[in-house]
Symmetry: C2
Subunit: 237 residues, 2 copies
């Protein structure tokens, strides 16, 4: 941290490994971070507690949880994370978009982050999306992030009247999961605080079988670092 006035950023923090690393990067780059999480009726709402612990541990200035019901009863659903659809445990992603895809999720999250950023006077939004070791969601790709940035710079009084310029930072975009983990460990991220599992046990233990668990575990193996994840006994790691 320099002596100059710190810049303020809005950082999307899910409680997972990627967003924890993103928060650490924002801090390293000199931003005061406002962590933003979403209670969107996700099956793995357990992650919100992890988000709170991560935000606190990484020195976020505040942590806010925005409630938006994306479940079937809210009129949305149609995802294994928000509906009565099984979380796949079949192993590596086959290249298609998996059933854990949530319709327009990152567009919804970024639009709320944009509104929040404008309210607090920030022009910098960090999101931990990644296009390497990822689940194949369309709203994690660089062209999506760039297109949303264009929207942000047309949509707001902050960009229009005040002539500011929003930047959507996606610092993990081209890193492998192992690179993300190594970078996070270098910056002091405590990954035992994070939660990635889509289908955790009631006590939050990770299933070890869902896409998200597999990507995470493979990342630690590939990085040659111990995996601090607490797995459920029935997990097949």
């Amino acid at each position: 941290m320099t002596d100059t006035a710190r810049k303020t950023a809005v950082v999307l923090v899910s409680g997972g490994l990627d967003s924890a690393t993103t928060l650490a990067i924002a801090r390293r780059e000199g931003y005061t971070s406002h962590a933003l999480s979403f209670d969107y009726s996700q099956r793995h709402r357990y992650e919100l507690g992890a988000a709170r612990r991560v935000a606190e541990a990484m020195g976020a200035a505040c942590h806010r949880v925005v409630k938006i019901d994306l479940s079937a009863s809210g009129g949305f659903g149609r995802s294994a994370l928000t509906d009565e659809i099984a979380v796949p445990t079949g192993g590596e992603n086959t290249g298609g978009i998996p059933p854990t895809y949530v319709p327009a999720r990152n567009t919804i999250f970024l639009s709320l982050a944009l509104g929040y950023a404008e309210v607090i006077g920030s022009f910098d939004i960090f999101i931990g999306v990644n296009a390497v070791d990822y689940s194949g969601y369309p709203d994690c790709r660089e062209e999506f992030v760039k297109a949303f940035e264009a929207v942000a710079n047309l949509a707001t009084a902050a960009a229009d009247r005040d002539r500011g310029r929003f930047t959507i930072h996606a610092p993990l975009m081209w890193l492998t999961k192992a690179q993300i983990i190594r970078r996070g460990v270098q910056m002091g991220v405590d990954y035992s605080l994070t939660h990635s599992c889509y289908d955790p046990a009631e006590d939050g233990a990770a299933c070890g079988r869902c896409d998200s668990c597999r990507l995470r575990a493979a990342g630690f193996r590939s990085a040659g670092l111990p995996d601090p994840t607490r797995y459920a006994r029935s997990g097949n790691r």
Copy 2:
């Protein structure tokens, strides 16, 4: 309505004059409409009842209200519509962005409409934004709508895997308020059902002084049509 299978659209319906006309246009164009409204802690939440009545009168297949707290207590606010900021009554818009601007509102609404459209299998979203007789909000301009359409076509499984193409329809964009009203009357819109006032009395009577009331009243005058709005006695019309 033709004998062919009807197309399905998501129509943003606020309860106001513009969105009621937009809903009528979607119907005229052969769409089965799902009306979507937002309870965003707006001062003029009275409009949600108008939205319901409009959706019903215009034959929408359903009407859904999505709750998202954009008030100061929800972490947002900073608008005369969602915060402790007075609704201006100073008359014609002076060219700047007025305090009734809600940070990123149309981006948030369109992103939720996008998720909802993907869930119901629709590729058509209608929004009643207008760049002629409007309040000067940046997220009502054509370049914003086009930029959001680009996001929609990168953000979703429906566009990516299923190779569909989303269209954001903004049929009022280049119409004057008088043209909008004449077109609506031709299509049988009952404007007495609609509500435009930003600062209504408890019984829903319009103030007659806010920007929205003034634009609406001027539109009826200019169209040479009777204004069915119920004004509060203290209004200065």
